[in-house]
């Protein structure tokens, strides 16, 4: 067989060259390859390449360099099963119950493996005479298998952050934010030119003052008063001009940079809000807060202060150089000699500081992360009396911060004095060379004084210019961290061509849904149809995928395989906000925002009338307790709804869900964190909410699902049982066991299981 044609029709890339020779030896004449897959692990899980092939007659497995080979004749009834665990995947070839072979790979090749299995099935179908289905496969992320949207270049899950220190070029990307202000920037630049020029006038005027006034006076000539007046007037005028221009320049540019900073913050925050939950899961609050808050502030400061100063300095150096050369080229040359040396030094330090400052930033966000972790969890810290340990943890990070800063400062502290030293040496050289020139009558004393005046400004600027190195580095790393957010594409993309549903009935169909979190499959092969108005109870151990399913239904994440549709329309083709406005979500931990109770209830519908708000609160059984608060519906509740009990907060969040009148309702352990008495109150509120809506309820206490039309029992991401309470009890399966286990737990659930003994007890006591 001709090796150059070894390129299976359905795969997109040819087999690596290394295999060609081996293949030529192994393949029979006119044997056609359907699919291939290169494995990278052997039986003992060492890294070693292998090749799996499906031809039109057999499955062929080659090991590295063709030393080993196994083959299995292709026959109907064979299946390839793909499994993965902890980043290692395996493909097993099964014939009925017997395993014929098993090959392993790292999950980096996961997508190839999936493709291979699919092509194997097609090949098998072809063997049986069936036509392979020509289904267009969506592009998959090679790392995590999540399907990519047509407009998505990289998978948003696995986009790995570059490790290299950020180059200062990243600052150029800020142009996107500076563009709207380009005319103000231009004006600022022109003002900068003018004001710099104005500051360069005084030393120039000192030349005639020295040569034509002071030195002739020393030599016995009277002072030319007119000339003195003229020169002093010129000095005053140039000073005034420099003052006015400098003010205008600084003001305009500061104004612009502040606006750029504000835009940057707003846009970054907007972008962040639209990212999927996935992103927030992986990031810590403190870190994100630092990025949006202090990093954007740092950029703003850099633009308004440091960059401005630097540009002024560069301009001044250029202008000074020109002036010096016009006055005396030789002296100018000597004066400018130390400049390249300093430039070289700056470059050296820049290199070392760049990684250092990134590290300082990282340590700094560790410091704030500890605060953000500990302060909200202060009850746990105190309850377990771990103040000492937390304080130790903080001290440790602080020490680390100190160590990192110390290391940086060691280089940094050497830097400034060295520049000063060079400055002094430079001045010394000018003095020496100037005096020598003066004694040879090549230049006048006035020229030398002018030079010294220029150059002392010049060198003090160089000193401050050297500061730009660290500042630029810091800002560049800040900008990189902001652009990290801005560059992130939501893994839950908006549809390119959105469909609109006028009125949602509430029928939900989940077809072959699968979801993996990193390399762990959380939901597998999930099929479920929910009729409009039906109430489904999701039951299962924790970790069985209930909450993941809810996240998929809300489209906080997208399914990696299969589809979820509502009224027959794939939810991925609906605009996200429009779709979610049909979903009412009641969570285990209700979150109340800072604001009044009325605002919190109207969170999903900001323009709700007061009557609507009160009606929703009534239906949620929250009206009366709200009235008893000091300011009724105007009472303010804090971040976490301080001052309200868990049940009260939960009822407010139920009112919030009721107000938007959603067609689909999701209750995620809505009653889990309250006592049984409160639970009854909430349950009554929920009964109002559930009426007539498609409801998906997760509850740990099975008794709270008594109203559900169907119960779905999940285990490890798969449906194991489905049916009403009675049916499932009759089956004596997984649900039965769960129920029994809870029934035995009399302490907590006695009340729920059979009637309400606590009340009876109370009555008998009374």
């Amino acid at each position: 067989m001709d090796v150059s044609t070894i390129s299976p029709p359905s795969s997109d890339s040819p087999i690596p060259d290394a295999w060609h020779q081996v293949l030529q030896a192994r393949l029979a004449d006119r044997e056609r390859i359907h699919a291939w897959f290169e494995t990278d692990l052997d039986d003992r899980l060492s890294f070693s390449k292998g090749l799996l092939l499906v031809t039109d007659r057999r499955v062929l497995a080659l090991t590295a360099a063709g030393q080993g080979c196994s083959e299995h004749r292709l026959a109907a009834g064979q299946t390839l099963r793909q499994q993965d665990h902890a980043g290692i995947g395996s493909i097993g070839l099964f014939d009925g119950g017997t395993r014929l072979g098993c090959w392993r790979y790292t999950m980096a090749h996961g997508a190839d493996a999936t493709r291979f299995v699919r092509q194997f099935e097609q090949a098998l179908n072809g063997l049986q005479g069936a036509h392979p289905a020509g289904v267009a496969q969506p592009r998959l992320c090679p790392l995590c298998l999540a399907p990519l949207a047509p407009d998505q270049e990289e998978c948003a899950y696995c986009d790995i952050e570059a490790e290299a220190p950020p180059s200062s070029w990243v600052l150029l990307r800020l142009w996107r934010f500076a563009r709207p202000y380009r005319w103000q920037l231009l004006a600022g630049f022109l003002l900068m030119l003018a004001s710099t020029a104005a500051t360069l006038v005084p030393p120039y005027l000192s030349m005639p003052l020295m040569d034509d006034v002071l030195i002739p006076f020393e030599n016995g000539k009277p002072i030319n008063v007119d000339m003195v007046e003229l020169l002093l007037g010129g000095l005053l005028l140039s000073a005034l001009l420099a003052w006015a221009l400098g003010w205008a320049k600084t003001y305009i540019l500061a104004l612009v940079s502040e606006r750029i900073g504000t835009d940057l913050r707003t846009i970054t925050y907007d972008h962040l809000l639209h990212l999927s939950l996935e992103y927030f899961g992986g990031k810590r609050t403190g870190d994100l807060m630092a990025r949006i808050g202090s990093e954007s502030d740092r950029i703003c400061l850099f633009l308004s202060l440091h960059l401005l100063d630097f540009a002024t300095d560069v301009l001044m150096i250029l202008m000074t150089a020109v002036i010096l050369f016009t006055i005396d080229p030789w002296l100018a040359l000597v004066t400018l000699l130390p400049l390249p040396l300093i430039a070289w030094m700056i470059h050296q330090v820049r290199h070392r500081l760049s990684t250092g400052f990134e590290k300082v930033d990282r340590v700094w966000s560790q410091v704030s992360n500890i605060l953000a972790d500990t302060i909200p969890g202060i009850r746990v810290v105190k309850a377990f009396a771990q103040e000492k340990r937390e304080s130790g943890r903080f001290r440790q990070v602080n020490q680390h911060n100190l160590a990192v800063n110390d290391r940086i400062n060691r280089i940094w502290s050497l830097f400034s004095p060295s520049v000063t030293l060079l400055t002094e040496i430079g001045l010394l050289v000018v003095w020496a060379f100037g005096i020598w020139q003066v004694t040879h009558n090549r230049i006048s004393v006035g020229v030398l004084t002018a030079f010294l005046a220029y150059i002392s400004r010049f060198y003090t600027r160089l000193d401050s210019m050297s500061r730009i190195v660290s500042v630029t580095q810091k800002t560049a790393s800040g900008a990189k961290r902001i652009f990290d957010i801005l560059d992130r594409v939501s893994s839950v993309p908006e549809p390119a061509k959105p469909q609109h549903l006028e009125r949602i009935e509430g029928r939900i169909d989940i077809r072959d849904a699968g979801f993996r979190y990193g390399n762990r499959a959380v939901i597998r092969n999930f099929n479920l149809s929910i009729a409009p108005g039906e109430m489904i109870g999701l039951v299962g151990h924790s970790g069985s995928g209930k909450s993941t399913l809810v996240n998929l239904l809300c489209r906080f994440y997208d399914v990696s395989e299969g589809a979820i549709s509502i009224d027959g329309v794939n939810i991925r083709s609906l605009p996200i906000a429009e779709y979610r406005s049909n979903i009412g979500l009641v969570l285990q931990e209700p979150f109340l925002f800072f604001g009044s109770i009325a605002e919190n209830i109207a969170y999903g519908k900001p323009h709700a009338t007061r009557t609507e708000i009160v009606a929703a609160a009534r239906a949620a059984h929250a009206h009366e307790f709200i009235l008893r608060l000091p300011h009724g519906y105007d009472s303010l509740v804090g971040e976490r709804g301080q001052g309200l009990s868990g049940g009260e907060r939960q009822r407010i969040s139920i009112a919030r869900a009721l107000l938007i009148d959603p067609r689909i309702l999701i209750l995620d352990e809505a009653t889990a964190s309250v006592d049984t008495e409160t639970e009854k109150e909430i349950q009554r509120a929920l009964d109002n909410l559930v009426r007539g809506r498609t409801t998906i309820a997760i509850a740990h206490r099975l008794s709270t699902l008594h109203k559900a039309d169907r119960l779905v029992v999940l285990d490890r991401g798969e449906i194991v049982e489905m049916g009403s309470h009675e049916e499932l009890m009759g089956k004596e399966g997984a649900y039965f066991r769960l129920y029994q286990a809870q029934a035995r737990n009399v302490d907590t659930d006695l009340d729920d299981q059979n009637g309400s003994p606590p009340q009876t007890a109370k009555e008998s006591a009374a």
Binding site: R610, T611, G632, D634
Partner: protein, 157 residues
């Protein structure tokens, strides 16, 4: 919840409000409460019975017959205490805790501000200040205050 107008209100000898509803049931010790005391004082007043459950919901106070409204308003006036600050005369320090001498619509008084957090912005220019003893002071319109008061207040915002 009933919101019909077929009820009567009166005051009994003990000074309590008594409500007689449509079917003649007599409720004593009725407590009126505003639902939105700050944002919309006239919208939504609820009459609660002694047991704390709502007896009647009044959508709009102005919709009631005059004498009943007067009764409810009189009762509300006795229970509600939210002085409105008209002028801040002097503050003891710009760091909290700080003692403020203020003029309110109920007379001059002194309030203790424990922390800046206790000044809450309700809407754009309405502020609610809770003093150290739990009394709420209202500044209905920040911009309507005189310059001296605003300058003082500005140091805390």
């Amino acid at each position: 919840m009933k919101s019909n107008k077929d009820f009567r209100l009166e005051r009994n000898a003990a000074g309590q409000l008594v409500m007689v509803d449509a079917d003649g049931t007599v409720h004593e010790g009725v407590v009126p409460l505003r639902a939105f005391p700050i944002s919309a004082p006239d919208d939504g007043v609820s009459l609660l019975g002694e047991d704390g459950h709502e007896l009647l919901w009044v959508e709009r106070l102005s919709g009631l017959p005059d004498e009943m409204r007067a009764l409810i308003e009189a009762e509300l006036a006795q229970r509600e205490f939210m002085p409105e600050i008209t002028r801040i005369k002097q503050v003891s320090s710009f760091a909290t805790p700080s003692k403020w001498q203020v003029a309110t619509d109920r007379g001059d008084t002194e309030l203790l501000l424990k922390a800046e957090d206790h000044i809450r912005r309700l809407t754009g220019s309405t502020l609610l200040i809770t003093d150290g003893y739990g009394v709420s002071f209202l500044i209905r319109d920040l911009d309507a205050l005189d310059g001296h008061s605003r300058r003082l207040l500005d140091r805390f915002l």
